[in-house]
Amino acid sequence: MTVRGSESAYLPDLLRGNTEALLLFLIKEMGHTYGYQLIKEIGRRSEGFFRFKEGTVYPTLRKLENSGLLQGEWREMPNGQERRYYRITEAGIEFLQKKLAVWESFSTAMNLVFKPAKP
């Protein structure tokens, strides 16, 4: 995964721990979707800030599928080629909710700390 303008290693590190939540969130919103579409959607929504490598996304999708958080299935495209689609499972929704709750508390706490101290 590369991050535009990442002079430090801080941003990639920050993102690495949240790749699964990002993918699960998008899959939940988009319903059935596939790897390449997810990569494009992340880039579009973040206005190009996040540019995930395919080499990161496909293994993560497999990992989430093996953990029972996603379910994959092959679907045929009009040209006869099959593509692997993913949808979120009940366990995936539960996992995502927990991740989002942690993220919410974390970002609130960070914002509170970063707020300039009142005199």
Binding site: G35, Y36, K53, E54, G55, T56, Y58, P59, T60, R62, K63, N66, E73, W74, E76, M77, G80, Q81, E82, R83, R84
Partner: protein, 335 residues
């Protein structure tokens, strides 16, 4: 498909070390990605070769992608870790209870191990299967060993070193049994090595230890002849060694990284082998223990040398790419 993509996907596959059908599913998914990405870049005006190179670049290094895929697909659950250690524990139980020389309990245990092995072999070859295969091969090793006196006696007669006329039918039967056992062990090992040499090491790790123990028992009169309580002298120690192998199997299944799996298996396997050497060779001294550790290490990395020779995966070269499966990965049965 352009040769660059083919070479890239072949590089990924060569480092996946997963079940052949799962490897094909993964390669099929990456293939459909390449098709789409290259087509999209071409629509935006890029020439085909530049589009392919861009698609390959954004996928990262094939080894890294393969490693991440391996780690994504390879961490076993606690249940799988327990199942992997179970045959070691069951055979350790035979030693603890001194029941290994009783025909009914030991036949029952090994028949059950063979049944579970065959069932798992035909139902997706789960990662916990490989320690079971090792114990399923053990009766073949014992049968081969048991056929040795008949074969030796017959050979001695024909070389004029023995007067006793051999039973030719028994000799032929023993030769057939010996050949079948050897063929099964070699063929199974080759098939497992083609998937991943580490799994072959996991599968074979109890065999040199139990083989050495069997040799000691033979020196005392053999499995089928009673030599008094002396034959039980190694039982407690052997059960400890097998408990250690059970732990090694469980750790192997739970670890996600292949390098860590290799380090854990080889370290614990060598320690177990050295312990067995200390127990069975009767205080062999420092050099003896060093020899036991070295032999065990050689035995455990042997499958890696075999894999380097016979290659990885079931089919090589052009034929691997010729099938319709790249377009229709759903047709692949996960076995």
């Amino acid at each position: 498909m352009l040769p660059e993509v083919k070479k890239y996907l072949e590089d990924v596959r060569a480092h996946l070390h997963l079940a052949p059908a799962l490897e094909r599913q993964i390669i099929g998914e990456l293939y459909s990605y390449f098709q789409e990405k290259v087509a999209e870049l071409q629509e935006n005006g890029a020439p085909e070769i530049a589009a392919v190179r861009e698609a390959i670049k954004s996928s990262g290094r094939p080894r890294v992608l393969a490693r991440m895929m391996y780690e994504a697909c390879n961490k076993g659950s606690l249940t799988e870790a327990f199942l992997s250690s179970l045959p070691h524990l069951v055979v350790a139980g035979l030693f603890v209870s001194h029941l290994w020389d009783r025909a009914i309990p030991s036949s029952f245990v090994f028949a059950a191990i063979v049944c579970v092995t065959l069932w798992a072999w035909w139902h997706g070859k789960p990662s916990w299967l490989y320690s079971w295969i090792g114990y399923s091969l053990l009766p073949l090793l014992i049968a081969g060993y048991a056929s040795r006196p008949t074969i030796e006696q017959t050979v001695a007669f024909f070389l004029g070193r023995s007067e006793a006329f051999p039973d030719i039918r028994m000799f032929l039967l023993m030769i057939a049994l010996f050949s079948l056992g050897l063929w099964t062990i070699v063929r199974t090992t080759m098939r497992v090595v083609r998937r991943d040499w580490v799994l072959a090491s996991l599968m074979l790790v109890p065999l040199p230890i139990l083989g050495s123990w069997l040799f000691n028992i033979e020196q005392m009169g053999g499995l089928l002849r009673s030599a008094g309580n002396a034959i039980y002298q190694w039982d407690t120690a052997m059960s400890l060694v097998l408990f250690m192998l059970a732990g090694a199997s469980a750790v192997f299944i739970r670890l996600r990284r292949r390098t860590l799996k290799i380090i854990a298996l080889i370290t614990l396997g060598v320690i177990a082998g050295t312990m067995a050497g200390q127990i069975l060779w009767g205080n062999p001294g420092f050099l003896g223990l060093l020899a036991a550790a070295f032999l065990m290490l050689l035995f455990l990395v042997g499958p890696a040398l075999l894999e380097a020779r016979i290659g990885h995966g079931e089919l090589r070269g052009e034929s691997w790419w010729a099938g319709e499966w790249l377009r229709r990965p759903s047709a692949i049965k996960i076995d």
